[in-house]
Amino acid sequence: MIGSNSIAITPDIVRQHGLTLEEFGRIEDLLGRELNFTELGIFSVMWSEHCSYKSSRYYLKKLPTTGPRVLQGPGENAGVVDIGDGIAAVFKIESHNHPSFIEPRQGAATGVGGILRDIFTMGARPIALMNSLRFGASDHPRTRFLVNGVVEGISNYGNCTGVPTVGGEIYFDSCYNGNILVNVFCLGLIPSDKIFLGNASGVGNPVIYFGSKTGRDGIHGASMASSEFDESSEEKRPTVQVGDPFAEKLLIEACLELMKEDWVVGIQDMGAAGLTCSTFEMAGRAGTGIDLELSKVPMREAGMTPYETLLSESQERMLVVVRKGMEKEALALFDKWDLDSGVVGEVTDKPVVRIFDNGNPVVNLPVELVVDGALDLKRPTKKPEYLKEVDHVKLDSILEPTRGETILKDLLASPNITNKHWVYEQYDSMVRLNTLGLPGSDAAVLRVKGSKKALALSVDCNSRYCYLDPFRGAQIAVAECARNIACSGGEPIGLTNCLNFGNPENPEIMWQFEQAVSGMGEACKFFDIPVVSGNVSLYNETLGEAIYPTPTVAVVGLLEDRSYHTTQWFKEDGDLIGLIGLTMEEFGGSEYLKIIYDRVEGKPPRLDLHLAKSVNKLCLELIQQKLLTSAHDCSEGGLAIALAESCMSHPLNPKGATLGLDSTVRNDALLFGESQSRILISLSAKNRLAVEEKAKAMEVPFTVIGNVGGDALVVNVNGKEFIREEISSLKQLWLGALETYVG
C-alpha cells in the first residue's frame, strides 16, 4: 500500500515525486501550511512536465493557433476546426513512448485508448487513427520484439474499438535504440455547434464517474513519462497498464449517446494523472471547485489508499458533470452499456478541490495553484557541439555513380523506404466506410458522410533533418505534410504536433527544442495552418543518449469535393510524367548518404517556403481542374524513389515508365537527392499545354520528364541510360523487405 497520510515528507520523498525542493518550498509558502502525503502526490503529477508543460509552455506560445476555421485551439482535450456544412473536425496527436518501451503491446494499446478518449470526450465520433513510430536500428536485438508488440497493440486496440487506422509512418534509426517513439493521432467529427468541453460548471451539479473500475494501475505513470530511463526503470515496471479495448468501445458508444442529452454540462477523460487531473482541470476551466468522496469511486481492488485512488491511471474511465437532478438518467444510460459508474462529487462555488474518504477530509487544495502554479522554466539553451562535426558533407569520397540500379534497389529495400504493408495490413483501415484513400498513397483520405467533402490526413517528420538542423527540419516536416495533403487533393486546415525530445535540463536539447518550435511556428504561419492541439514528450533518452529531435506533425486537409481525391500511382500507359519544382545538388541528411555511405551529415535540403507554397497550390489547382491522373510527393530517396513508387504502388496493375532527364547536377543528386518542394505527376498528353500554361502563370518550375508504359523503369540522364530495371523485380524487393527486418 502506498501513500498513507501519516508518512513524513522528507527531502528524499519530495525528490522521488519529481519535484525540486524549490518547487516544494514554493507550494508550501503559497499554501501557507504543510502538505500532507496525498497532496504531495497530487502536486507530483500535476506539476510534472507531462501535465504542466513547465519547460515548453514559454516556447509553445510562438505557434500560431488561430484562424477563421478554428473553433477550439490548444488547451482543451483536442483542437477543433470547422469544415463547413455544420461539421467540425476534432483532432490531436499524443505520445506513449515510455510505456511502449517497457511493454510495447500494452503501452501502444493504451496510447490508442488515450487519444481516442481525448476525441470522443469532446462529443466527436472518432473516425480515423494514425500513428507515427520510431524504432532503433533494424538489426538491433530488441527492435523486432518492440515493433511486433507496438504494431500488435495498436492493431488490437484500434480494430476492436472499430476506429480505422488509416495511415502513419515508421522509421528505424539507432538513435531510438534505447527510447522508441509511439505517437498516435485521432480525428473525430462533430456537429460544429455541439462541442463539449471539460468544464465543471454549475454549483451543486453532480460529478459522475463512469467506465472501468479503478485499480492500482500505473500509479506514477505521468511522472514516469517525465523522467529519463536509467537501469532502475526496470523497477517501475508494474506501473504499466493493461488496456481493455472492449470497455473503450462501450465507453465511446455510451459517451456519444450521453452527449445527445441537453443535461450534460462538462466531460473529461481520465488520462495521465487520472482522477486527480480531471477533477482539478475541470474545476480549473470553470473557475469552480469540486467536493469529491472517494468511497463512491468504483474500485477493482480492496484497500486502496486515497493516494492510490487519486493517482491511479486505470484506463477507460471518464468524469462527467450533469445538471442536478439528472443523476438517475445518467446512471441508467451507463448501465445500459454495462459500465461501472457512481456519483462521486459535486461542483462547489469556491475554487478549491476538497477530497474526502468516507467523510474524512484528505485533500484541500486551491485549484489554481495545482493547475497553473508550476512556474514556466526558461531553461538555458546552447547550440550543440555535435553540429560542428556534421554540418557539411565531405563530397570528395563520394564518387558520381555511372549506373543507378544498385543504389535504387538498396534504397527500396532499406527499412525507412520500403513498403509498409506489413504494418498497415494489421490495421483495419476500412471500418465505418469512410476511407477513400487507404494506406499506401501520400495522405489518407476520408469522406465526410452527409457532405460532398473529404478530409486528407498525413503525419510526417524526418528526424535526421531535425538532428542536423532542428529549425529547418521542423519547417520541412510541416511542408512535407502540407505537400502530401496537396498531392491527395486537399488544402491544409489545421495541424497538431507531438514534440519528442531528450532531457530539457540539457541546454543543447533545449536549444533543439527552441529551434524546432520556432521553425514549425514560422512554417505554419507561412502556410496559414493553425496549430490547434499538441503534445510535448521530453526526457526521451537512455543513459544520457538522447533521441534525434523528433517534432512530429500531423496535418488535416480539406477536399471541397471528394472527387478531387488523387492517388500517387501511374494509371494509364502513354500518360506523360512531369515534375513540379526544382532539383538542386543536395545530399545533406539524405537516405542515400545514410544507406550507401552510412553517413549522417550535411545541412538538410533547402526549403524556400514561398516556392513550397506555390508548388502545393499549383498541384491542387491542377487536381481540381481534373488535369492530373496522379500526384506523388518526393521525399526520402528523392526522385528515383518517388518514380519507382508511382510505378509500383497501383493495387492491381503496376506500370513501367521511361524518363529522359536533362540536368547539370550530379546524377546521384538528381535521382537520389532530397530537394524539397517537388511533386511527381502524371497527366494525359492532351492536358500538357494546359498544365504548362498554368505552371507558367503561377511561376512554378515544371518539366515534362517522361511517359508511362512498359514493364521497366528506364531513366536516361543527358541522353545516357542510368537506370533500367524490371518493375516486377523492384516490386518484389519493395514489398518484401520490411518483413525480413521485423517479421
Binding site: E103, G215, R237, P238, V240, V242, D244, E301
Partner: protein
C-alpha cells in the same frame, strides 16, 4: 520430460478477458462464481534432458518468450513423461 506452464496476470493487473467472461457467467446465472482469472497454458514435450536441465531451460523460455514478466507471472511443473 513434460513441462506444464501456467501464465496469468500479476496481482493487481487488469484482466480484461477475465472481466468479460465473469460478466457472461453472471448473465448465464452462475452467480456462485466470485472471481475468475484467465491465463495461458502450455505443455512442452522435451527430449533428452534431465529434470534439472529442464527446469533451467523452461525458466529461461518463460522469461524470454512465454510470459511478459512486466505484467504476467508464470509457474510450471516438470514431470517425466508417462
Amino acid at each position: 520430460m513434460k513441462a506444464k506452464i501456467y501464465i496469468t496476470f500479476k496481482d493487481g493487473v487488469l484482466d480484461p478477458q477475465g472481466k468479460a467472461v465473469h460478466h457472461a457467467l453472471k448473465d448465464l446465472g452462475y452467480n456462485e462464481v466470485s472471481g475468475i482469472q484467465m491465463g495461458k497454458y502450455l505443455e512442452l514435450t522435451m527430449d533428452g534432458v534431465s529434470r534439472e536441465e529442464a527446469e533451467i531451460r523452461v525458466t529461461e523460455m518463460c522469461e524470454k518468450l512465454f510470459a511478459n514478466t512486466v505484467i504476467e507471472s508464470y509457474r510450471f511443473t516438470i514431470e517425466p513423461e508417462e
